[in-house]
Symmetry: C2
DNA sequence: TAGGTATAGACGTCTAGACAAATTTTGAAG
DNA sequence: CTTCAAAATTTGTCTAGACGTCTATACCTA
C-alpha cells in the first residue's frame, strides 16, 4: 500500500477499513483481521494500526475485545417493550426480514413456576416451544414459550407453518392479546443459547420473562427470551 | 507521583488533571502545562501523558492546538438567535453574570452601508457604540452598533449607566423591539478585537450583522458583532 | 468424561527515539 | 521601529520493543 501525502497514514488506514466494511469485505458481527494481520497488510507499525482502530472504536464502527479480537459493530435494533410488542412487526418496521424458526417442541407437565404464570395447576400439560428469532438471517433472540396444551392442541404445526405465534393464536380465535408482565435481567448465555445466537459465551444476553394474556385476561403464554445484547436494545416506553 | 495498581497510569493522570481543572488549578481558557512539563511532573513517558490528554480532548474538557499548547475548554454558551434575543437575559438564564462595557463611542456620518440598514440618507449623523459583552468577566463578544443620532441623542450616557441597550431604548419610549435580520459568517478577528476578546488571533470569531426595528418597523439599530467561537455557539430556532 | 492446567494467540500499556508540522520567539537588517 | 528570516517551542506522527492481561485451546489427570 502506498500513502498519499497530506493525510496521516493512520487516517488513510481508517478510511480503507471503513470502505472495506461498507463494501461488505468485513461483515457486521464478524471478526476483523488481527492487529498483526493488518500490520502485514498495510506494512506499518502495530501502533499505527492501533491508532486507526481506536478511531473506528471511537466512532462506534467496530468493537474490540481484549484477547479475542475486533468485531464489526452491528446495528443495534431498538426493541420497544410495549403492551402489543410483536417481533415481526418491529423487525419489518426497520426494513429487515424477520424469521422465527422452531428448534424443538414437546409436551410436558408444568412445574410450579410455569403453572403459576399460566394460572394452571402444577402437573397440567403444557406445550414447550423453543425457537430462534432472526432478522436478515442474523439471530436476535432465542425464546422458550409455554402454552396450556389443552387449549392449544395442534398449535405447533401452525406455528411451524406461519412462523408466527400471533398468527397461530388467531387460528385459535385469539385476535388480540397483550403483554401482562415483563421482567428483565442480564445473564451470560448457556453454550446452547450462545450457539443458537451465534455469539460468544462471554457476551451477555438480555433475558426477559413475560406473560401474555388474552382479551379476557387469561394467560395464554409464558415465555423466557434471551436477546443478544450486541444486536438488540430494549426500549421501555 | 506513585501509581496505584489496577488502574492504568494514563487514566490516573487523566483523573488528576481533571481534578486540577475542577479545583481551579488550571483555569478555563488558560494554557495548560506543556507535554514536557507534565512528563517531568508525573515522571512518565511523553506518550503516556499524550494518552491521558487524548482522553481529555475526547471528552471535550481540553482543546489542543498544534504548536501552541493545550487549553482548558471553556463551557460553550448556547446563544439562541430569535426575534427577541437579549444578551443579558440569555446569560442570566445560564446562571452567569452578564456585563456590557462601553469601550468607545462617537458621532459620525453614515456611510452607504450604515445608511441603507438604518434606512436613512448617507451622511446622516449616527451614533457608533463599541462595546464588549462579558459573562462572569469572560468576554463573549464585541459589538459595533449604529443608531440614528437624531432620535437617540444622549443615549450613550444611559447605556453606560445601565449597561443595556434594551434599557436605554426604554428611556426613549421603545418598550419593545425585534430582530429584523441576522447574517452570520466566520472570520478571523483583527488584533484589536482579538485583544478585547482575550483570544488568539488565529482562533475564528462568529460574525453577525443585524438590524433591530421598533414596533412600527423603523430601524433603530444596526450592529456588527464578533462572538468568540470558543465560548459561544449560535442556535437558530 | 469432567475439570484443571499449560500454552499460544490477541489486545492493552508503557517506554524510547526520531522527524514532521505549526506556532512563537529571537535577532538581524533596513 | 518595523520587517523578515532563522531558531526554538510545542504538538503530531511513526517506528521499535518489552511486558501485562485476557481468551481460547489443547492436553493431562482424576
Amino acid at each position: 500500500m502506498d500513502w498519499e501525502p497530506g493525510l496521516s497514514i493512520w487516517k488513510q488506514i481508517e478510511k480503507q477499513l471503513l470502505a472495506d466494511i461498507s463494501e461488505g469485505v468485513f461483515i457486521p458481527g464478524e471478526k476483523m483481521p488481527t492487529e498483526m494481520e493488518l500490520v502485514r497488510r498495510f506494512g506499518v507499525n502495530r501502533h499505527t494500526v492501533r491508532r486507526a482502530m481506536a478511531a473506528l472504536v471511537d466512532s462506534n464502527v467496530v468493537r474490540v475485545e481484549q484477547g479475542r479480537g475486533a468485531f464489526v459493530q452491528e446495528q443495534i435494533l431498538d426493541y420497544p417493550l410495549g403492551l402489543k410488542t410483536r417481533f415481526s412487526q418491529i423487525v419489518s418496521g426497520r426494513h429487515r426480514l424477520p424469521d422465527k424458526r422452531l428448534i424443538s417442541s414437546e409436551v410436558l407437565k408444568a412445574n410450579s413456576t410455569i403453572a403459576q404464570f399460566l394460572d394452571v395447576k402444577p402437573g397440567t400439560r403444557v406445550i414447550e416451544l423453543f425457537s430462534v428469532s432472526e432478522a436478515d438471517g442474523v439471530p436476535l433472540a432465542v425464546a422458550t414459550s409455554y402454552l396450556p396444551a389443552a387449549r392449544f392442541d395442534g398449535i405447533v404445526e401452525i406455528f411451524v407453518e406461519t412462523k408466527s405465534l400471533t398468527e397461530a393464536f388467531k387460528r385459535f380465535g385469539i385476535d388480540d392479546y397483550t403483554r401482562k408482565t415483563t421482567r428483565i435481567s442480564a445473564t451470560l448465555p448457556s453454550s446452547r443459547v450462545a450457539n443458537l445466537l451465534k455469539q460468544a459465551r462471554n457476551r451477555p444476553v438480555i433475558s426477559t420473562e413475560s406473560v401474555d394474556v388474552d382479551s379476557a385476561g387469561a394467560p395464554i403464554e409464558y415465555g423466557v427470551t434471551a436477546f443478544s445484547s450486541d444486536r438488540v436494545q430494549l426500549i421501555v416506553e
